[in-house]
């Protein structure tokens, strides 16, 4: 399913609910007023390759889109939690129709804040949920909408969290990085690293900022 198809399906769902008269707390029946998010978000999933013939484009698929808090919770309740995912899986939540790829115009001049949880931690599901909530609630980036999306990689060595940004500007990025550390409950001894996408193909890919 392409992004357009997901968007169309999503709009159909929203338009059907819009036709009904919104219900309030005072209504007799169920309260269904929705809390809108700042932008629409799309959830993507990278399926691990089980055959050699499968390419990256075959594996990366949009799952669904959401633009209210209630829709977000409905999705979270219906998808496996990070600890349930098979190895080499990725979850991506990206703003609007931005593809979770370096090549996307919105990502090309940006980079990512990255942190790897090396051990299999019991609170991994909670950390991913906190990251998602901080991103979709826009509290991780209070100054400007620098955030394009958030990624979780499930790997043999642990879980990797990445916050994708649209630029490499140091000042706003440092503010975001500091909040990202709070969201991940990291201490002063833990460090997160910022990698610009422009240097992603370099042999020895070094972080441009470390916090």
């Amino acid at each position: 399913m392409s992004v357009e198809e997901v968007s169309q399906k999503f709009e159909e769902t929203v338009s059907v609910s819009d036709n009904n008269e919104p219900k309030s707390v005072l209504s007799d029946s169920q309260f269904d007023v929705k809390h809108p998010l700042n932008t629409k978000w799309t959830l993507w999933y990278t399926k691990p390759a089980v055959e050699q013939s499968e390419s990256w484009s075959d594996l990366l698929r949009p799952v669904t889109s959401f633009e209210t808090v209630e829709e977000f919770w409905a999705i979270v309740q219906n998808i496996p939690e990070p600890h349930e995912l098979p190895l080499k899986s990725d979850y991506h939540a990206f703003r609007n129709d931005i593809r979770p790829e370096w090549e996307d115009e919105a990502n090309a001049k940006g980079g990512k804040w990255s942190y790897q949880v090396k051990a299999k931690r019991a609170d991994i599901d909670e950390l991913w949920l906190r990251t998602l909530l901080a991103v979709i609630g826009e509290t991780i980036d209070e100054d400007d909408s620098q955030i394009n999306g958030v990624v979780l990689n499930v790997r043999k060595g642990g879980y990797k969290f990445a916050l994708w940004t649209k630029s490499e500007d140091k000042d706003p990025l440092c503010n975001i990085g500091a909040r990202f550390k709070q969201v991940l409950k990291l201490g002063d001894d833990d460090h997160i690293e910022f990698f610009p996408h422009s240097a992603a193909n370099a042999k020895h890919h070094q972080p441009s900022i470390t916090l």
């Binding site: 769902t13 700042n38 889109s65 209630e70 979709i136 609630g137």
Partner: protein, 159 residues
Amino acid sequence: MVRYTIEELLQLKPSETLTANFDGAEFRAMIEKVKQLQAIKEEEYIAQHGGHFARRRSSHHHGKPKIKHTKPKVTTDSDGWCTFEAKKKGSGDEEEEDSGKETAPVQIAQETLKVKPNKNITSSRPADSKDIVADKPTLSFNAFAALESEDEDEDEDEE
């Protein structure tokens, strides 16, 4: 810009399970299928490679095997000359050892090796015909006999 803190969003989490705007069951089934395929592949790998017990010894994490190197024996005489007494090993020098040390205990081999000659590389024919000529007993050269025979030849020619 609409903002929600993490705490506010958690408060908005519904207590009952909501229906998502996509087929969640299909998505979960796809992930379960991938997990099963991964498990089958892992089992196949273990069956082929014998699990982690069949791993090759890492040269990185373990030191080199300990080999005891015996120090060569050096004796110094009263004049200050050092003599190196190398230990002779049983590799090609057995004949010399036997001839030099008659008193040395003779070791009897515990195992008997049966060596079969390789028929493919042996031949009943000689390797070089020149060698046969050299090996054949030759008649000693008799100068007088040679002179006699030459005279006879000359006589015959003259006739």
